[in-house]
């Protein structure tokens, strides 16, 4: 949302001495995030109001040779191509050297100089059209300025308040504040921040037109109307679950809506990012920007015709599934059951809150207007917005939950703005359950206790009443809920008077977001400035370590110390990756709204993601590396927890790869596994693979081992199946492991046996056909007290027996 500071200041008297920068900074720290500020203080430099004194057509061209008066004695010659240029009119003249405003934000702003046209006419600067001034797309002619507003020589910026700063507001931070989506509501907050009482006179829009209109007077041609001043009660039927109030004002044409001059309204619409188009639409848009209440204008005669009734019959209801409606932009939508429809005698004519229908749209022949000012359920409109992809300024406001209190006033103000062409011929209002007043009770102590402040009662009351709250003070017994306890920090809680003043705070109609004490406390804290609250530190107990995080940290330190690189990869993987790793996709949770097929499944183990990154790194190329990741994994087969959410396990994946490696990669991976287990004081056994869990799927059973601790499976280490390696396009030297860290955590031990003193060592070689483990067992039986470590395995060519060598330390 864009907010013009000049327009804002019309509703708040900013005290002298507060600069714009300070004001914007205050708005940022006490109301809403200001994403950016567009500086337009020089956008209209060098543009002057001039009177066209002479205008002569240049023969055989569309051009006119003009002499203009800019307040200085000499007339200036300008060639103008616009058809509407004429003697006596006031126009906007861009002086030579000035920048064309519509191009200020372009890379190369357009500067008008002194030119020669048709090689003989000097032309100084230009007379500007609305598009060149950045007031919309109108290129049909130059703008004309109302002589009652300006005289030749005035600068355009002064006449139309164009030296302005435009605030770009982050809408998300106002999700709960529909009232701030109008200039008036925004200004009320700014007043509150400045400690000024917001002037209630300027906040209500005109009621004059309602008081003064005479519907009973006969038409000019003497015919009777199909409606009367007080429209019948069945004029409007609403489903109050989705539409809390529907106000309709009928306007009847009595003259042409002229549009001759550039207006302040045009420039304000443009500054808010809405292009001025024509009088009726502009009026509804302008009021929406001003009050936050969106309006819609139907052609009443078309409305009645569509419904095939004599009198207008408005019915607001939920759509039926599959119901069709052609919108203003010509697109046909198919409705869902949650869409809200405006119907004429049950025939859909508009998608409520989102867009009007083509069948009832106003055009230049419109004689009677049905002006809608209503509020709809934000929940339904939010779904409509998503389902149909409509993100207009109007629906943006409705989905914040516009309150119903002002629909009538805004509609009547719109009528007032159009009164030179239309007069009110009927009014109806269906408001079955008027909002009840909302009172929250608070005490000064409660407010100060939550904020950690020492604000006086009167300051709190003043702060709240400044923005429209009404506060009544009564005296009650000391609040039992006061959290003051013995030994609490002094200062904050010390002032506890008995009896206590209870503040009964009534919210204004536009504050639908206030329900509980804390909402009021937020108002006080915010309006008086959180930055004025002194930071303090509470004292409390010491923390405990998180064993799982601690384990990961130790592994991280350990593996990186031994040359491995920690990586992070996405938790989401592709169906293809699961296939390549031979994992069953049915065992993975599937994302239904994934960004791409690459990110469709939640991974079952870490290693497949690492294999993908191995390919990337071999390609770079990195000659040799070991990568690892510790992260959470999920498998459907694990079921759910007591909380009914999927079981989650922490897993460590590791892959070692060399582009031209020699030897058996398995043993390198195993060496890293054992490094971790040694660090954790865990004794692990490595046995041939029997388990068929998801993590073992990519591993080659003949060259991999299950890792057992106390006989329990904790992971797998090994080389990968040739087919897997081929699918991932990886070099031969490749191995890895996957370990369940939650189990490692269960078995880890922190006691470390330290043996001091020099040890006697002896090497032993055994010639055998048995496996290493079996041989080791035999050696251990012989030397039960000794520490035995492997040295080498040698097998001469053609020999059946291997020589397995050990080092034995006593």
């Amino acid at each position: 949302m864009k907010i013009s500071l000049n327009w804002l200041k019309e509703y708040v008297n900013v005290p002298e001495g507060i600069t714009n920068t300070e004001l914007i900074s205050l708005i940022g720290s006490r109301l809403v995030e200001v994403e950016g500020v567009i500086d337009e203080t020089h956008k209209y430099d060098g543009i002057t109001v001039v009177r066209v004194e002479k205008a002569e057509k240049i023969p055989d061209t569309h051009l006119t040779l003009c002499q203009v008066y800019d307040g200085s004695p000499e007339l200036v010659q300008v060639v103008c191509g616009a058809p509407n240029v004429r003697e006596g009119m006031l126009a906007a003249w861009i002086r030579p050297g000035a920048i064309v405003p519509a191009s200020v934000h372009e890379a190369a702003p357009f500067v008008i100089g002194k030119r020669k046209m048709l090689s003989k006419y000097d032309s100084n600067g230009m007379l500007a059209g609305a598009d060149e001034l950045d007031f919309g797309d109108d290129h049909s002619g130059i703008v004309e300025i109302d002589p009652s507003m300006a005289k030749p020589g005035d600068t355009l910026a002064d006449v139309f308040e164009l030296n302005d700063l435009i605030l770009e507001i982050e809408n998300k931070s106002l999700t709960h504040r529909p009232d701030c989506f109008g200039i008036i509501g925004f200004a009320r907050e700014v007043a509150g921040i400045l400690g000024i009482k917001f002037d209630s006179v300027s906040e209500t829009v005109s009621r004059n037109s309602y008081e003064n209109f005479e519907a009973s007077e006969p038409r000019d041609d003497g015919s009777e109307r199909a409606w009367s001043r007080e429209l019948e009660s069945d004029f409007i039927t609403i489903d109050s679950d989705v539409c809390s109030r529907y106000t309709a004002v009928v306007l009847e044409k009595h003259g042409e809506l002229g549009k001759k001059y550039l207006t302040l309204q045009d420039t304000r619409l443009a500054k808010a990012g809405m292009k001025p188009v024509e009088r009726i639409v502009d009026a509804t848009n302008y009021l929406m920007l001003l009050t936050g209440q969106p309006l819609h204008a139907f052609d009443l005669d078309k409305f009645i015709k569509v419904g095939n009734t004599e009198k207008p019959k408005i019915i607001v209801r939920l759509a039926k599934k599959g119901e069709k409606l052609v919108l203003l932009d010509g697109k046909e939508i198919i409705c869902n059951e949650n869409d809200v429809l405006i119907t004429s005698n049950d025939v859909p004519v508009a998608l409520a809150g989102a867009m009007g229908g083509e069948s009832t749209m106003i055009d230049e022949n419109t004689r009677n207007i049905l002006l809608e000012s209503a509020t709809f359920s934000l929940y339904n409109l939010r779904k409509t917005q998503m389902d149909h992809g409509i993100f207009s300024e109007a629906i943006t406001r409705f989905t914040k939950g516009q309150p119903p209190y002002q629909t009538m006033e805004v509609a009547l103000e719109c009528a007032e703005m159009l009164k030179d062409g239309f007069k009110i011929a009927g009014i109806a209002d269906n408001y079955p359950k008027p909002e009840e007043s909302n009172v929250v009770k608070n005490t000064t102590t409660e407010i100060n206790n939550l904020l950690g402040t020492d604000y006086e009662k009167d300051l709190i009351i003043q702060t709240l009443t400044n923005v429209g709250f009404q506060v009544n003070v009564s005296t009650g017994p000391a609040a039992a809920s006061s959290p003051a306890v013995a030994g609490a920090p002094s200062g904050v809680l010390a002032k506890k008077a008995s009896p206590v003043d209870i503040l009964s705070i009534e919210s204004p109609a536009w504050r639908t977001d206030i329900h509980i004490k804390e909402d009021i406390i937020e108002e006080v804290g915010r309006l008086l400035g959180y930055d004025n609250i002194e930071p303090t530190l509470p004292l409390h107990r010491t923390a405990e370590k998180n064993a799982s995080l601690e384990l990961k940290r130790e592994i991280r330190n350990c593996l990186s110390m031994y040359g491995a690189n920690e990586v992070l990869t996405y938790s989401f993987v592709s169906e293809k990756l699961l296939e390549k790793a031979k994992q069953d996709k049915k065992n993975s949770y599937k994302i239904v709204n994934s960004i791409s097929p690459e990110l469709q499944y939640i991974r079952q183990s870490i290693v497949p993601s690492l294999l993908e990154k191995t390919f990337l790194n071999e390609k770079l190329p990195v000659e040799k590396f070991a990568i690892f990741e510790m992260n959470q994994v999920y498998r459907k087969e694990w079921g759910v927890t007591k909380e009914n959410v999927p079981v989650e396990r922490n897993s460590l994946g590791f892959v070692v790869a060399e582009r031209k490696g020699e030897g058996t990669a398995f043993y390198k991976a195993k060496k890293y596994v054992e490094l971790i287990f040694r660090e954790m004081q865990i004794v692990a056994e490595y046995v041939p693979i029997k388990s068929k869990t998801a993590d073992t799927k990519p591993f080659e059973p003949k060259r991999s081992a299950e890792i057992l601790v106390n006989g329990e499976y904790v992971g797998v280490v090994g080389e990968f199946k040739n087919s897997v390696r081929h699918e991932f396009k990886l070099a031969d030297y490749l191995a890895g492991f996957e370990i369940d860290l939650d189990l490692v955590l269960e078995y880890r031990s922190n006691k470390k046996e330290i043996k001091i003193g020099a040890k006697k060592t002896e090497d032993l070689t055994v010639a055998t056909t048995k496996s290493y483990a079996e041989t080791l067992k035999e050696v251990q039986e012989k030397y039960p007290e000794a520490e035995i470590s492997p040295l080498s395995i040698y097998q001469a060519e053609g020999e059946e027996k291997k020589n397995i060598s050990f080092r034995i330390a006593f």
């Binding site: 006490r30 995030e33 999700t175 709960h176 929940y379 939010r382 206790n449 939550l450 950690g452 959290p483 003051a484 306890v485 904050v492 509980i516 004490k517 804390e518 909402d519 406390i521 959180y530 930055d531 002194e534 303090t536 509470p538 107990r541 998180n546 799982s548 991280r556 040359g563 920690e566 992070l568 990869t569 949770y589 994302i591 709204n593 960004i595 939640i602 993908e612 590396f625 070991a626 959470q632 909380e643 959410v645 999927p646 989650e648 030897g663 043993y667 390198k668 195993k670 003949k702 081992a705 040739n722 087919s723 081929h726 290493y772 483990a773 079996e774 080498s792 395995i793 097998q795 291997k802």
Partner: protein
């Protein structure tokens, strides 16, 4: 291999038949093409399966109980100069250390959760537009890879309520990986890390929240800092604020240069109530902020995508 040859000749035969398409009337060609392609795909898949089985049977077994291969040297670790910790994890550890020093327990966040913890119990009304701001992913079961670490708030409150009964305070931080369904570019990732903080006690105030957050950042940047706030909106806190710090000198900050660090606020009474904590007796505050941004600022990185790239040219920049 015989089987492969058989399948290959079958493929040849299919290809021959496929050429016959030009003799067919135009109206039948599409249907014919579809059928023949399906057949071809089928045979290709069979060939692949057979070849894969063949590939996998080629291998010779090894002694998995040993520590080196036959006639091979004992394997060596890579040199320490190769190794590196992931910068995000280093940063996360640093953050956790400071909070622990300040007396906060640590709980890790889940990576797959449900609507109840992500929204319902955090005071988001059902179907409320505020839920859209989080751009969540969803699984077929309606589960949610969490979009914020606040998904753990309810659990933390319930689990640590005992501290309140003992007369103390709940003080917990929750680091974890979170997910948002948004397009990836230099400053946006769909996968990133956050750290949540939760504090509840009898006499806690907004002033204490500001104190703790300032203390954290002063410890983190090892210097005194100016702080600033602006109003925010989160359904689960009331009041809600955005917390900013003046850009530290170590990051080349100038006076008046503020960085948005995190969202925070006083825990909404409904959130406390849902965890069985009486909001009349206890108050709390909570905050949550991104870790990726801290790491990017510290290392002067401009592309968030590097973190999950797995690219060793990047990661080895962080070697020991």
């Amino acid at each position: 291999m015989d089987e492969v040859l058989k399948l290959k000749s079958k493929l040849k035969e299919i290809n021959t038949r496929a050429r016959g398409i030009s003799d067919l009337p135009v109206s039948e060609r599409a249907e014919f093409g579809r059928k023949i392609n399906a057949e071809r795909e089928q045979v290709l898949a069979e060939i692949k399966a057979v070849e894969q089985v063949a590939l996998d049977t080629e291998v010779s077994p090894i002694d998995v109980t040993a520590w080196s291969g036959v006639n091979e040297a004992m394997p060596e670790f890579y040199p320490v100069t190769f190794g590196s910790k992931h910068p995000l994890m280093t940063e996360l550890d640093r953050v956790i250390d400071i909070y622990q020093m300040m007396g906060f327990d640590v709980v890790e966040s889940r990576q797959l959760d449900d609507e109840f913890h992500m929204f319902d119990v955090l005071n988001f009304p059902k179907g409320h537009p505020a839920r859209d701001g989080y751009d969540t992913f969803r699984t077929e079961e309606g589960l949610i890879p969490p979009a914020h670490t606040s998904t753990m708030q309810h659990r933390v409150l319930k689990e640590y309520k005992k501290r309140l009964d003992e007369g103390g305070a709940i003080a917990v931080v929750v680091p974890g990986r979170v997910f948002r369904n948004e397009d990836v570019d230099a400053t946006h990732e769909h996968t990133f890390y956050q750290c949540e903080g939760v504090y509840v006690s009898k006499d806690c105030t907004l002033s204490q929240m500001l104190g703790i957050l300032r203390e954290f950042f002063e410890k983190y940047y090892e210097q005194k800092l100016n702080i600033k706030t602006q109003p925010g909106y989160f359904p689960f806190t009331e009041p809600s604020l955005e917390f900013m710090i003046e850009k530290p000198k170590s990051l080349g900050g100038k006076k008046g240069d503020f960085l948005e660090m995190l969202g925070c606020g006083m825990i909404h009474p409904n959130v406390l109530k849902a965890a069985g904590i009486d909001p009349e007796e206890y108050h709390g505050f909570a905050w949550g902020g991104g870790i990726d941004r801290l790491a990017m600022l510290r290392y002067g990185l401009s592309d968030v995508r590097l973190f999950e790239s797995g690219n060793l040219n990047f990661l080895r920049e962080f070697s020991l």
